[in-house]
């Protein structure tokens, strides 16, 4: 990794004009894993100092500034109040405090990292993202896109709704990347299931979700069938942490567990 210029901007507008001006300009967020990317960066744009690190409630949404650190997210009582605190639960399982004090939620989401523990629970909470230029877009839609982002993520917005949530991540050691993670929520009678670190980026198990909502009885059999549906619709891959086949088995186990938890 090589950086030619470091720019601490004084406004989002300034940051955006730098991005527009050069294809080799990048927002650096926390920068914790910047050195792992081989790219050469012309302008590294630092957004700290723009007040983008607050966590507030606004208009029925919890709004997390994109520059909030993972540690801030994990410790936030507001975020903890959402669906059994699954976002905090996921955040606190990411590496150590010394990293979570650097890495930001915006950086995590923009990276669309397959190994992310944080994106998976956010996907089952109807999370939306607010960009400077593009405005609002749902996280699920954003994750589905492949185009490179040339915009500035400002806020992560989570609707404040009552519901049950469950998250689990399977790791070899506590600070490792997951072999697989899964999050399940049940909000307003609707079920959502997301599976991440497949090792590809997180996805919703749409067919399994639909199946659960049509189940007459939310019992063990329903969970079992939903899990089978999920492993049939989701694609898994192999890496040094586990094979595609093992991930499939984990997915089945986790989806079952998650459903049992949120349906009970």
């Amino acid at each position: 990794m090589k950086i030619n210029n470091y720019v601490k901007v004084s406004s989002v507008k300034e940051a955006y004009s730098i991005l527009e001006g050069s294809s080799k300009a990048t927002i650096i967020a926390g920068g914790a894993w910047l050195r792992l990317t081989p790219a050469e960066i012309d302008e590294a744009v630092d957004l700290s100092g723009l007040g983008l690190d607050s966590i507030d409630v606004n208009d029925g949404f919890v709004e997390i500034g994109s520059m909030a650190t993972l540690r801030q997210v994990e410790k936030s009582d507001i975020v903890k109040s959402l669906c059994n605190g699954i976002v905090c639960d996921a955040a606190e399982k990411i590496m150590g405090v010394t990293v979570r004090n650097i890495a930001t939620i915006g950086g995590t989401i923009s990276g669309k990292y397959g190994f992310s523990d944080l994106i998976t629970p956010l996907m089952v909470l109807d999370t939306e993202l607010e960009f400077h230029e593009r405005g609002r877009v749902s996280l699920v839609e954003f994750m589905d896109e492949t185009a490179k982002i040339r915009d500035i993520l400002l806020k992560i917005r989570i609707p404040m709704k009552e519901g049950r949530g469950w998250f689990e991540t399977i790791k070899i050691t506590a600070i490792d990347f997951p072999i697989l993670n899964a999050a399940v929520t049940r909000i307003d009678g609707k079920t959502k299931i997301a599976v991440g670190s497949r090792p590809y980026k997180a996805v919703l198990a749409e067919m399994a979700m639909a199946y659960v909502d049509t189940c007459g009885k939310h019992d063990a059999d329903c969970a079992e069938r939903a899990a089978m549906t999920a492993i049939a619709e989701i694609k898994f891959g192999s890496n040094s942490r586990g094979s595609a086949n093992y991930r499939k088995q984990l997915c089945e186990a986790l989806v079952k567990r998650g459903l049992r938890e949120v349906m009970s």
Partner: protein, 149 residues
């Protein structure tokens, strides 16, 4: 570019490159207690406090630190000596390479958490790896330090 840091209470100006990391800036300027272990946020031996929060200096751009307060273990000599006393009693010092980072993280934890449980302690320090001690002696030492302090 030039950055201003307050290191251990002293105002400093350093000339750094855009892609220089805080670990390199500090070591170059003789803060040798800040150590290089893995260079990718995985081990914790490069920990410093940035505005009081423990952070991996190997992966924190020096430019980003501009205007911030940095504490290395040289900045908390009394606390480090106390913590060392507890580590010593439990045979937990061993090679010592990671110990300045342990002292800083334990010190920050003491300020941040009230009456941490065993699990809280493990969670807070999970990113500070140690290959020598097997962690048990450290855990006993940290608990004893928190009880006394």
């Amino acid at each position: 570019m030039k950055i201003k840091l307050k290191v251990n209470g002293e105002n400093k100006v350093f000339d750094v490159k855009a892609d220089e990391y805080l670990l390199d800036t500090l070591r170059k300027n003789n803060y040798v207690s800040v150590r290089r272990g893995c260079d990718n946020t995985s081990c914790g031996v490069c920990t410093v406090l940035i505005n009081g929060n423990p952070a991996a200096s190997c992966s924190y751009l020096s430019c980003k630190a501009d205007g911030k307060e940095i504490t290395t273990v040289e900045g908390i000599p009394e606390e480090a000596a106390k913590i060392a006393g507890f580590f010593g009693r439990e045979g937990a010092d061993q090679c010592g390479f990671c110990n300045p980072s342990m002292a800083l993280t334990v010190y920050a934890m003491k300020k941040e958490l009230v009456n941490p449980t065993d699990d809280d302690i493990r969670s807070y320090l999970v990113g500070n790896l140690c290959r020598c001690s097997g962690y048990q002696g450290q855990h006993r030492a940290i608990k004893a330090y928190l009880e006394v302090e």
